[in-house]
Subunit: 146 residues, 4 copies
């Protein structure tokens, strides 16, 4: 593994890993989630709340919001081409999302120590209101993604 | 609100709330999740890991496992016909789930104080292996679901 | 490591590990926390809320309640004489504890997969009211405590 | 309540609330925790790992690290003179802290929606290594601290 890349190369690597992962990431594709931007330690993804994403209270199912944040976490996490596995995640719901909303999740690395990393994601709607905050923990598998 | 029902009536109420919620819970339906059993303080749901639920590492996307657990939480939570809103959830992933696996989530109430409740769900596969543990916190909205 | 002990031996081992750990566990001792009972996959600890444990709102500091639960987790976790390290914990506060209260934390194993384990603890007061729920995740270090 | 203060006044108010809270916050005082800096949406606290803070594995008890982070959360949380109550917290341990270490916790507001707020704290040691990340959720009580 040679991951000490920087500047422009780090962004190109992040994009390459993302493209390879996304092509076989059927769950993320299935929900219409798009990777809008990715860098060595962050990723920005968007998702439109489709009619089939609504729960019995007529608001976006918490699992759909979670999946968006978790995907953002995954792309941010793997962007340096070191395969990472998520061990646990936490989400706090601050406001409901509704059918037709466009949600954006921005995930970034918050802390790192040895093989352990902590990433945070914030999910907002098209008006900039915070829908949820997400935190994920991941451990390096000591192998490349590509 | 008159929720002090018990025994057979409590189960009948749980079933009724579940049926009403499920009918408009498009997200849970969309993923093929079934409510196998529900009682006044628990719910058992199943989901088959479909090909479109797999992520870029060829294992079940963490968001799909989460959604199953979160739905189980929701049905257990509302089964007494008191509308509850989830404030936050945590999930720990213990083993990967694979395409074709049948996952079962059992959610039950763990603690209660005033309007606050804590529910736990365990997700297992068809061999009984634990895939994930989930904990959700909810607050009563002081109104009925039905 | 030979940890496949059962029945009476498993309890004797749990007690022995506990005694050895407690003797050098100055933090738990300092707060007057007592290990009331311990078995191969659970531990019961108590703590009296002393005047110096109160915060600026005149209720028991959340960190003190957490420490009681975390200690219960630690003793339950190591009771099979396999050293474990906690990776992350979550606590939900359901009701305040007050000066003079006697708090009891019961920790038990909830799930296990390979080297990973999840433990849950519930903290109650002398009236049986739930003060907090706690969940901890730990990984085996593949060595003995004794 | 009139909390729409800004600039220098917001800092003065944060300091005032902190001083009043700290005077009766016996738990934080007991552990030798100092509030080094506080502003309208953040707080910086330090704690020296004393010999009595060590656990049975001869490292700083997770509850002591948690208490430092939780206190930082509390001071950041109340700094606008709106009383807040913590509902739940999560901590991820990234590296052990040792006897004699000086730990610093920086807590800041990460998200806000209505009466709900999410705060994050990072605990580092004297060498800048991350010991733990902490996240707390709090709800406004709609009354002042002072």
């Amino acid at each position: 593994m040679a991951n000490e890349v920087s500047g422009r190369d780090a962004y190109a690597l992040a994009r390459k890993v993302t493209d390879v992962m996304y092509e076989r990431d059927y769950a993320t594709q299935h929900l219409g989630i798009k990777v809008q931007e990715v860098g060595p330690d962050y990723a920005i993804l968007t998702m439109v709340v489709e009619p089939y994403m609504v729960n019995g209270h007529d608001i976006c199912h918490g699992g759909m919001t979670y999946t968006l944040a978790d995907s953002a976490f995954a792309y941010a996490c793997n962007a340096q081409d070191v395969a990472m596995v998520a061990s646990g995640c936490v989400i706090d719901y601050l406001a409901p999302a509704h059918k037709g909303d466009t949600l954006t999740a921005i995930a970034r690395e918050s802390a790192s120590s040895g093989r352990q990393k902590v990433f945070d994601a914030v999910v907002t709607n098209q008006n900039g209101a915070v829908i949820a905050t997400f935190r994920g923990r991941a451990a390096s598998l000591k192998k490349n993604v590509l």
